[in-house]
Point group: C2
Chain length 217, copies 2
Amino acid sequence: MDKINRHPERSMLDRTQLDDVLDAAAVGTLATVVDGMPWAVPMLYARVGDRIILHGSTGAGALRQVAAGAPAALCVAMLDGIVVADSLFDTSANYRSAVVRGHLTVLTREESAAALDALSDALIPGRSAEVRGHTGKELAATLTIALPIVAGGWTVKVRNAPPSAPGADEGAWAGVVPLRAVPGTPVPAPWVDPHTPVPESVRRLAQGRSVAGFARA
Amino acid sequence: MDKINRHPERSMLDRTQLDDVLDAAAVGTLATVVDGMPWAVPMLYARVGDRIILHGSTGAGALRQVAAGAPAALCVAMLDGIVVADSLFDTSANYRSAVVRGHLTVLTREESAAALDALSDALIPGRSAEVRGHTGKELAATLTIALPIVAGGWTVKVRNAPPSAPGADEGAWAGVVPLRAVPGTPVPAPWVDPHTPVPESVRRLAQGRSVAGFARA
């Protein structure tokens, strides 16, 4: 993550690798320019084919401004390990990251319903089939935006390796402390009868078989 | 994370809360404006008092351009749970996030050594005391930059709650799937004798007592 642009071998050109990184995470930082100044917020997202889907409230002024054709960059990063060398200089991190650059578009209400289902299913696979559909009121309250993935409009970088080389102190320990995000036991809301069965999608999510946003070790 | 700006109760004004969020993570997205376009990269960072410390290679052109007094925003986000409601509309996420806005400054070589120690110790607490100091050559190759934390220049948002309210289907399960990042067993580099003792800082990191970047459940 340090010394970015200095390690061309960490940059990848394969679209499949971009998709793998994007699909493994659930939260990214959307950056744009507002009145000449950088503007950045964390957002849930999902890749659907060649588009990244984002959403917010139609009442969110900043997002609406951003959505009006603004140039944007979505940055996604997962920290997969701490790389420990025998010097601080060679201490590093294992990570997967992607930046997608493009111009945002606003989806129509008709497009929104399917895109929002896909966004939910990226977070909780299978969930959209377990619940009722979106109401007109809900769709009217939701701003669904898309960032297209176009050739030349993205960068993906991955580091997954031990420290770069033994340092001067060859007898010293060096290596990697892996990091992994894991789901815990589902916690029912206070009003939920504890005997209520946990939905299949939530059980799968909690078992870590399909958690978006995390290293799938 | 959705409907940002629409939930003022999720915005906090207490600097202590900002520090808590910043200190719990290790990677953020640095966003700025280059030639009128948004520019964003993931970076390791550490808060040291009223400054956020970042670093890169002096050879990294983009970072150097950014560092020259450019307005910047650092965005940090941790996904702490998936909030499951009985409708997709009320599905949400528990998270901690912060955005710090300001102008970057480049540290002198003298300031850099201490700042880089602090950056390492934020990632691997106690590590700087276990290894040799920085060499002049290393300091010359490293661009250390700071983003000041100033009043009015930051936003912190936290959601840590069940779904907002029971939906129409009161018998349906609703709740939260907590997410937590955990360190694994340290993996020695291929050239390291397996009998080499693991440094104290690395053992502590692997035991999860002081892992930066993660929910400390």
